[in-house]
């Protein structure tokens, strides 16, 4: 059981580090949000749950923290992405398509 917990924690730690790497290398805000959200959500989930598996008395509390992170991380990153889009941050040069201009038409319909 102890070694299973250590392996789960190790996978989580690796994903956290890759999330930081993605944040460092990607070209614009939206891609950075992708790296920052996805990798850190699973990374933190695995790290915290792995600690809970190694210390059986802590399992309940670690499960609560992990579920809380799983629920709130998409919301905070969605609001940051929305703030970036509303304040007019431009996309990177590599971008293929940008339909954000059309999207404002729907707000008048209701």
């Amino acid at each position: 059981m102890y070694y299973l917990g250590l392996v789960v924690t190790g996978v989580g730690v690796l994903f956290l580090c890759l999330g930081g790497l993605g944040l460092f290398r990607f070209p614009d805000v939206y891609n950075r949000v992708q790296a920052g959200t996805k990798c850190t959500t699973l990374g933190a989930f695995c790290t915290i749950l792995g600690v809970g598996i190694t210390q059986p008395g802590w399992f309940w509390k670690t499960l609560i923290i992990a579920l809380f992170i799983l629920a709130t991380n998409p919301i905070s990153s969605h609001s940051l992405g929305r703030a970036a889009y509303k304040s007019g941050t431009e996309l990177a040069e590599e971008s293929v398509v940008d339909m954000a201009g059309e999207f404002d038409d729907y707000s008048e319909e209701g």
Partner: protein, 165 residues
Amino acid sequence: MSKVKSFFYLFSALFLIWIGFTTTFQPQELGLGLIISLFLSTIFFKTYVGLGFPPLGIKRFLFALIYIIVLFKEIVKANLDVAYRAVHPEVPINPGIVIINTDLEGDVARMVLANSITLTPGTFTLDVIGDHLLIHWINVETTSKEEATELIGKRFEKYLKIIFA
């Protein structure tokens, strides 16, 4: 949903969250949690009258379980995808912003759909107006709205339609 029902839902949700966060069953902690949840739910229950939760049922419960399993599979796939793109020396991305539309009714169902899209491979929700969602896609495969809806939204909608029917 009636006012009494929404008050009861809010109160029990707040009390369960309190028990989960404190993780004790001592009488004084439970009493303090009871007082705080009663106080908060008396003030705020009017805000939640508009939010409808579906009634419980065996079929809904089974589909919710399947939905959670599908969601976890997609989260793991999303992580491997983003990690591969971050490690690759040339950063193989092909980003863009597309619009999709959804058939789901109700704010709670749309919120669950938007958060699920945020956690799945290569896509994340920027904004929601009515039944249209603005999506940032890290690897754009198609620029037509119908095909994007088919590729991004459909894999969750078929479960959420039954859960929130």
